[in-house]
């Protein structure tokens, strides 16, 4: 390989056919005179602009006729000609400098074009150089060169992560991998499971219970997940009424009065709430508005007056203390009910965290735009993060995540995208240049992911995510079930 050209942060390297290189791989440009090396990442592979190549192609494509031919080449010059004709231009981004084994992000120097030696840099040695090693390793899978890629659980701690990519590329899979790894290290995890995909997290592929079985708790709203009004804070109920059920302000004021009087009587039940609204002497519109919201709450099936039926989230979270996951299965829940449930969960979470009953929680939210209200997004990356909610957004619609969230994201696990619009949205991530994102993500195979951010010390790395011994189910409902 030879250095060819540098423009800004982009370096072009001339590669030859004998050197197997794929997008995403790293190169080390060693300048023997200066004792330092430039770390490059290949982000695109193009045909080198060889003189005469067009002629060559034209010559060899004589119409559509098939011309058989042979070459008598006793001196064996032909391989040298193909070597030239198959030369490739590796478009690379400068990722930093290595000096005496010490990495730095500086790239304010230029290695010698004639003296430099360029070789492949394995992901393992790249990450080793970058000091990505830890007491709490998470094995993500392997790099192109089959070396295993391990990230540090510490670098997920307190962080905001995004997992994104097309459908069926393996987003939920890597999320499960992260969830299980976090459980291994004793962390509490909450999963907002839109499609009920995480419900078998405690079962192996063959359906047997695994070591995680006891650590995974599945909550299905309206079924095994019901709460009493008494457990619920007025603020939470008001949030539900405002945000999920669009209750106007005047009616909310009336509701607050009702709530307070019930609370004073120690009679916070759904039945009494319904009665109070019906018997309330107030503006007819207000009463109607309250009544319809009341029935929405009733219909959600999430609230119960039966103490036996209700669960205590406080207890559920307690069970997570030494590592465990609470899976909120939102699969059979309507849009409005989803919002009610999520509103409840998040406020309960904050409550427990502020009371220091929980140290911190890793929250995984699949397709959050379908249930997370507008104002929560900023809240999640600022206030809630401060309280100890460390969120991972998982989505196949990157444009539903706002730009400022991308900017604040510490880690991005990026799977394949082919749609320009989607790529555009992701490429706003501040952690890496748009060109890298677009070029590499466009060609990622399923189950391969471009990891960006702190977990890889800002060296973007392509990982083939390892398989998990977890039963998968429930992603797609099919009509033809007899065949796969």
């Amino acid at each position: 390989m030879k250095l060819y050209k540098k423009e800004g942060n982009t370096v072009q390297v001339l590669g030859f056919p004998t050197e197997e290189i794929e997008k995403g791989e790293y190169l080390l440009v060693e300048d023997p005179k200066r004792c330092r090396s430039l770390v490059l990442q290949v982000i695109d592979i193009q045909f080198a602009n060889i003189p005469g190549i067009l002629e060559e192609l034209l010559r060899n494509s004589t119409d559509d006729r098939n011309i058989y031919g042979e070459n008598f080449d006793p001196i064996e010059v032909a391989p040298h000609i193909t070597y030239i004709q198959d030369a490739r231009m590796l478009v690379c981004k400068i990722r930093g400098t290595l000096q005496n084994g010490e990495p730095s992000l500086s790239s304010a120097w230029l290695p010698s074009r004639s003296q430099s030696h360029i070789r492949k840099l394995s992901t393992t040695s790249l990450l080793a150089n970058a000091k990505v090693n830890s007491s709490r390793p998470i094995n993500l899978g392997e790099a192109r060169d089959s070396s295993s890629i391990t990230i540090d659980a510490h670098l997920l701690d307190g962080k905001l992560n995004i997992v994104t990519g097309k459908k069926e590329t393996g987003k939920s899979h890597i999320s499960k991998l992260l969830v299980l790894s976090l459980i291994d290290y004793g962390a509490p995890v909450v999963v907002l499971d839109l499609n009920g995909e995480y419900t078998n997290l405690g079962l192996s592929r063959t359906g047997e219970k695994t070591e995680y079985y006891k650590k995974v708790c599945i909550l299905c709203p309206g079924e095994n997940f019901k709460v009493t009004l008494a457990q619920t804070n007025l603020r939470v109920v008001l949030n539900i009424l405002f945000h999920a059920l669009d209750l106007p302000g005047t009616s909310a004021r009336e509701f607050r009065r009702i709530w307070k009087s019930l609370k004073e009587q120690d009679a916070l039940t759904m039945r009494r709430l319904g009665e109070s609204i019906r018997n309330r002497q107030c503006n007819l519109h207000v009463r109607d508005a309250l009544n319809s919201r009341y029935y929405s709450l009733v219909n959600s099936g999430f609230f119960t007056d039966n103490q036996e039926e209700a669960i205590s989230l406080k207890e559920s979270f307690k069970a997570l203390q030494d590592g465990g996951a609470l899976i909120i299965n939102l699969r059979n829940t309507s849009t409005i009910d989803r919002q009610i449930v999520v509103e409840f969960i998040l406020s309960k979470l904050i409550e427990l965290l502020t009371q220091w009953r929980l140290r911190a929680v890793f929250l995984f939210a699949e397709e959050a735009h379908l249930y997370l209200r507008e104002t929560y997004w900023d809240d999640i990356v600022t206030r809630m993060r401060h309280f100890g909610v460390f969120t991972t957004f998982v989505t196949n619609q990157p444009s539903t995540i706002r730009e400022n969230i991308y900017r604040q994201a510490d880690n991005i696990f990026l799977f394949n995208f082919t749609n320009e619009h989607d790529l555009e949205a992701v490429s706003r991530a501040a952690r890496v240049d748009a060109e890298t994102v677009k070029s590499i993500a466009h060609d990622l195979h399923p189950h391969h992911c471009l990891v960006l951010g702190r977990v890889v010390r800002d060296y973007p790395v392509v990982v083939k995510v390892r398989a998990l011994d977890v039963q998968t189910m429930g992603q797609t409902r099919l009509f033809f079930t007899d065949q796969n």
Binding site: I50, P51, G52, I53, E55, E56, R59, T62, R65, I67, Y68, G69, E70, N71, F72, D73, P74, I75, V77, H80, I81, T82, Y83, I84, Q85
Partner: protein, 365 residues
Amino acid sequence: MIGQLPFTATPRYNFPTEYQNLQLPHNFIELSLRSMRKLDGECLVPAAISLSDSVESHPSLYAPSPSNYESQSLRSIPLKPSQQPATIIAIDVSNIKLGETDSGLLIAIRAAVVWMRNRQYRYLRLGPFPFHITEQNKQKICHLFRAHNFQTSPNSQITPKLTDTHNRISNLLECWLQMNISTRSQDSIVLWDGSLTAGTPDNPMQFLSKLLETARNRLNRILAFAKTTTLRIGNQVLTDLTTETPSPCLIQVKSIPLNPSTPLRFLGNIYVTRFARSNCSFRLDIDKNLPIEEGIAAVEQLLGNDMLYQGYPETLRLAHIYSTFTASEVIGIQRFIAQTHGLRIIMRPNLRRLLFGPFGKGVDA
């Protein structure tokens, strides 16, 4: 006399059986290799790649200017393409200058033979063969070649200038191929690139007439097409001649008076082709000793069998295409020599030009 090569040649099952073991004289490859043996450590200043470099060193360029001309000496011959199946074989050889070394000139030669039968084309490429021509070895190269091809005494010829040697070598290779094809094939139409003018250092009378005779004896008909010609009739270039006869047709040039002092001889009847309605014309030479009708019939068979592109036979066009060098091939060959023979390629700035600008006079031209 054809020495077998020590090199393994894959059997060419796709080729007509008579050519399956068509191989080059051992000497040729040996010469190529030997000429490069002394290259170790030498520097090569690559030639500016101009692709027309590889074009035409054909005898037609040497042709003389006739002094007078009468219009009666032209005859138009209308042609009727004949579908009668024929094998068409075309031969072409190209050479290119790779650059200058400390001691000489580095060139490469490649030959191509294309067969057409039942509208199916097949090609065989021979080469590329790099040669390092120096003042020391140019004589040897030419002698060996001549000895091989002409079986005449090596001393009978003057050696060419260094800069002509590469044209000479490629001419010799071409002659060798032409001879080989003439002997191996039967009842075929053989297309050459060039003319049937003899008497140049490259094309001695004796050899060319022997070649034509061999071909005739085996019922082959040789049609030599020249893309360019310096032949003129009066003050008109031959290929600019016009006719009322609708295409396809030939214009026979019955006589071109030759300057008595010239050693040149036309061994063919000279025609101008008008195969397509477009005004692409070529000079066509057909063996004089072949009955005229037979020659015309061969052209009609060519028209009925081969395709034409801009009035030029496709088989010959392919032979040309397969033998010429592209820029990337030139770089590949330079790389080959650098890697296998220790040649160092340098981009020597032209000092004279740097100092004096493009007006510097003298040896550097």
